[in-house]
Symmetry: C2
Subunit: 155 residues, 2 copies
């Protein structure tokens, strides 16, 4: 298995853990691109956490900053199961993430290849390398299943 | 003095405190629109804090969520001295802020009337009311002065 598949598999496992806690199943992993070490990981906590902004990739990056005692994440890669939203896409830029790997595309809320396509804008001052599509089907299917069950419970 | 001028004055005072700590002078205040109470306030901590994403408005909203034990900020207004960036504009939307008041426009990094103009986009699912220009000159001048001093120190 290629290294980057291993990290996305871990992000998927975190997403699975989120869904077991009735959280939106999105997982994220911060990896040191020089050593291959997983520095921090998180899943969404926006449903039962303290804030609606508790997205997986934002939490994982904040944990990485705390662990590394650094306000930026130079030479760090980020793996996340869903295309980052506008808030997270900009946060990734502020954090100076080197390479962003994401799984499924998010047409309704994404901001990398969807929506505002933040990294192509003049107000974006650091653009990570972007690779999309790693385990995209699994990443997307887990989300679809989660919301299908939510809808079924309501009806 | 109109009520909303009072809150922006407080945000300016927080910005001034930031500059005294060698932080980028931006201040933010979360106000309960029903009672007029200041629920939370913060200034930028992105220079000396733990993360590059420690922007005044994000910190103030997070503090408000913790205080109110609510993951969203229904009926809350946000006052911030500078036009929010892309990350913060989206966070304001996620938090369901009712009315956003900002001082100076940020052509290089803003995302409300500048840059991606997030609230006009289809991937924005809650648009606050927006009022701009309260003490715009003071808000902008404080930032210009801060960066002028930084530049002079370097040269």
């Amino acid at each position: 298995m290629a290294e980057n598949e291993k990290y996305m598999k871990r992000a998927l496992e975190l997403a699975r853990q989120a869904s077991e806690q009735d959280e939106v199943p999105i997982g994220a992993v911060v990896v040191d691109s020089l050593t291959g070490e997983i520095v921090a990981e998180a899943h969404n906590e926006s449903e039962h956490g303290s804030e609606a902004t508790a997205h997986a990739e934002l939490l994982a990056m904040q944990k990485a900053c705390q662990k590394l005692k650094s306000k930026r994440l130079w030479n760090m890669d980020l793996y996340v199961t869903l295309e980052p939203c506008t808030m997270c896409a900009a946060a990734i830029s502020f954090m100076r993430i080197k390479t962003l790997y994401f799984g499924a595309v998010d047409v309704k809320g994404g901001a990398v290849v969807s929506g505002v396509r933040f990294y192509e804008q003049s107000t974006c001052h650091h653009k990570p390398e972007v690779f999309q599509g790693l385990y995209a089907e699994e990443c997307g299917e887990m989300l679809k299943k989660f919301f299908r069950i939510k809808r079924d419970k309501k009806s």
